[in-house]
């Protein structure tokens, strides 16, 4: 579903992402882990066609995002870590705007909005301007807007930040449901417990380079994912010192 082949992105002389190769298959929840500034968001933005990259190639469902970005973008949904929403619009107008862009027919969009708004308990607030929403409510709106066109691939940057435990659980269930239907999910997170429980595979990135990738057992062995991550990142001594 998503193939990242030898991706390199430079900012000036600095390589933000360095020769990164990842394959995310259909039906897979793929976690992307790394310290702040490791290159996660750059990779994610490149996968969504927001950032141009210097070397390598990214394929979405077999189509290069460089060569046919519109076709790729129709199949994916992007959830940024700090989304900009049109705060002057009401929640429902924002969702309709997104549905208009993706060309979702009226009947389908109404059904999906109702389904997900009910699920996330946002129905009563959809008529209010987004500027009056809390951070969590905005995050829920972004999730609904990502699901409105039933994407094959969802790329998420820190999707659980700001969500209450109930919404978090609902999102996890939705993620699994999408993958069971043949979709795929690629998301970055700092919440390693979530990644450990939810992901089929994970990749750990450090200073733009892939350190390790594989299924959970391959990556963490007998340790917890947190221990494995700290060991690979070189922070284990510090963490043990605290303990």
């Amino acid at each position: 579903m998503l193939k990242i082949e030898h991706l390199t992105k430079r900012y000036g002389d600095k390589k933000a992402v360095d020769d990164l190769t990842l394959h995310i298959e259909k039906g897979m929840i793929y976690g992307f882990i790394g310290h702040n500034g490791a290159g996660k968001t750059t990779t994610i933005k490149a996968c969504c066609g927001i950032l141009q990259y210097d070397e390598g190639e990214i394929y979405i469902d077999g189509v290069s995002i460089k060569k046919d970005p519109l076709s790729c973008k129709r199949k994916l949904a992007y959830m940024p870590d700090n989304p900009y929403l049109y705060e002057f619009l009401s929640g429902i107008k924002y969702l309709n705007f997104i549905a208009d862009v993706f060309g979702v027919p009226q009947k389908e969009r109404e059904e999906r909005i109702k389904k997900y708004a009910d699920l996330f308990e946002l129905t009563d607030d959809l008529a209010q301007p987004i500027s009056s929403y809390s951070h969590g409510m905005k995050q829920k709106l972004v999730i609904i807007s990502a699901l409105i066109h039933e994407p094959l691939l969802i790329i998420m940057d820190e999707p659980f930040v700001g969500l209450d435990p109930k919404a978090s659980r609902i999102l996890k269930n939705i993620m699994r449901e999408i993958c069971d239907k043949g979709g795929a999910i690629f998301f970055s997170t700092h919440i390693l417990e979530v990644a450990e429980k939810l992901c089929d595979r994970v990749a750990i990135i450090k200073n733009g380079k892939l350190i390790v990738s594989g299924n959970m057992d391959e990556v963490k062995g007998n340790d917890s994912l947190e221990d494995a991550f700290l060991e690979l990142e070189g922070g284990a001594e510090y963490a043990n010192g605290i303990n």
């Binding site: 933005k45 519109l70 973008k73 992007y78 900009y84 002057f88 008529a127 209010q128 301007p129």
Partner: protein, 175 residues
């Protein structure tokens, strides 16, 4: 899609002009009516102000056969108003847009995103231009007989002037 983008841009523009503060729930009908009345009052004020200005120079200029200067002055004032009225919006909309990531992640050609922003600014410039050229044209054709060629050139000038104002604004903000 272009219409949806223009609508969103116009909504952003209206919101920046009329929404006092954030975190406000939906405003009532009375507030919207009040804003509507204020906008009409402002438009009326501009019409009378520019109407008075052009009224004072129209007859002397027609007598001196300086109709071209009359319209040149009107065009300069209109361009200046378009520039002043849209320069900061152009900066926010073209060079500091916050919705780039959102729009670029969706299946919208980047050209359309830019076109929607330029068209929004163009519409804004037409509005400002109307505030000047409307009274100027009205006053002129009250005192001078309307001929087809004159009106045609007036309309062509009206349609093209905002393009010049928009070009000046964009170049100004880019440099």
């Amino acid at each position: 899609m272009l219409m949806a983008l223009i609508k969103a841009n116009l909504a952003a523009l209206m919101s920046s002009l009329f929404q006092g503060s954030k975190n406000k729930k939906n405003r009532g009908l009375a507030f919207k009516v009040l804003i509507g009345i204020l906008v009409l009052y402002l438009i009326g004020t501009f019409f009378f102000m520019f109407g008075g200005l052009f009224y004072s120079i129209c007859v002397p200029m027609i007598s001196a056969n300086l109709q071209w200067l009359y319209f040149a002055l009107a065009a300069i004032v209109a361009t200046a108003l378009c520039f002043i009225g849209s320069v900061f919006t152009a900066k926010t909309m073209l060079f500091e847009a916050k919705d780039n990531d959102l729009l670029l992640s969706m299946p919208i050609p980047p050209g359309k995103i830019l076109a929607s922003r330029m068209l929004t600014l163009l519409l804004m410039n037409y509005f400002f231009e109307l505030l000047v050229m409307g009274p100027a044209g009205f006053v002129f054709y009250t005192f001078s007989p309307a001929d087809f060629t004159g009106i045609l050139f007036f309309v062509i000038g009206f349609l093209f002037l905002p393009f010049m104002a928009l070009s000046i604004t964009c170049i100004w903000m880019a440099t």
